[in-house]
Amino acid sequence: MKLLSYLLFTLIILASVFFLTKEKDFQIASTQGEFRLSKQENKLVVLYFGYRFCPDICPTTLNTLSQVYKNLSAEEKSKLKVLFISVDSKRDTLDNLKEYIEFFDQDFIAATGARDLIDSIADDFGFKYSFFNQNGDDENYSVDHSTFTLLIDSKGRIKDTILHEDAFEIIKRKITNNLKGIE
């Protein structure tokens, strides 16, 4: 019995290690052309999912990221890619996303695509979202969504997670510390 629980424990540990280090890739149309994760070698990708009409959570996150980004050195900036994936491809297009994302920083990238593609990327990175339509009309809905931001490498391995409630200094440290690990 003891051996069995030991084996089970080892299995769980191995499974989680496998899951966390599993290589992932995706390709999506972005405001800067096709974005393929595996092509972002020697880059730290800041991955965030949201939607353009998000009035509070998304702009707070993007504002914070832009403040951190503005204070980085040119070398650090060259190693960082901020990617905002809109899960709301019904209302968000690359054209209107471009205006939106560049409001936060000219270098930031926004992307969106077919529902299947977005769902597969979201699933891969443990991101959840769901449309909420209070009034039942087609245009005015909000999106319930996860609020974390992931720091990933070109192989889709999660290096760190930024929580929405993290203080500015913590977010800054998580990004700059992980940039140090990028050659």
Binding site: P55, I57, P59, N63, Q67, E99, N140, D144
Partner: protein, 143 residues
């Protein structure tokens, strides 16, 4: 006389008084052109001995204006309308990003930095307040 008037105007623009309720530090979040919705934030204080409810908010800037809260559930942040917001006796409630806010939906025009948006608040003790709410860019450091 002119100075007194100026000072009075300056003070009233900073703090809105009306009976038991006062509103401090109101602002609307600046969002990019084409945005459909934004949030208004402020601190609402109740100096009376009993709970007062904020029943509604209206503004000509948006077609729909609602009182909202954020609820964290199943790992997701959910934004929901609430029927009223209670301001307990002798205390204040802060409407802030990620929490309570007044939601301006279906904006009639783009937001402009520094623009003042008039927001009318109605409370259950029959108090009505109109606040000149400036549009500001939000920096997290200051939150």
């Amino acid at each position: 006389m002119k100075i007194i008037l100026t000072i009075t105007l300056m003070l009233t623009s900073l703090i809105s008084f009306a009976g038991s309720i006062s509103v401090e530090d109101p602002y609307v979040r600046l969002l990019p052109k084409g945005s459909m919705a934004t949030g208004a934030f402020m601190t609402i204080s109740n100096s009376s001995e009993k709970t007062i409810k904020l029943l509604s908010a209206t503004t000509s800037k948006s077609k729909i204006t609602q009182i909202h809260n954020h609820i964290k559930e199943n790992g997701m942040m959910k934004m929901r309308e609430i029927p009223y917001l209670e301001i307990p006796a002798k205390s204040s409630v802060k409407l802030k990003p990620g929490s309570f806010h007044i939601m301006l939906m279906q904006l009639r025009s783009d937001l402009v930095l520094g623009e003042k948006i008039k927001i009318n608040l109605s409370f259950d003790n029959d108090e009505k307040i109109t606040i000149d709410t400036p549009v500001k860019k939000i920096n997290r450091k200051k939150m």
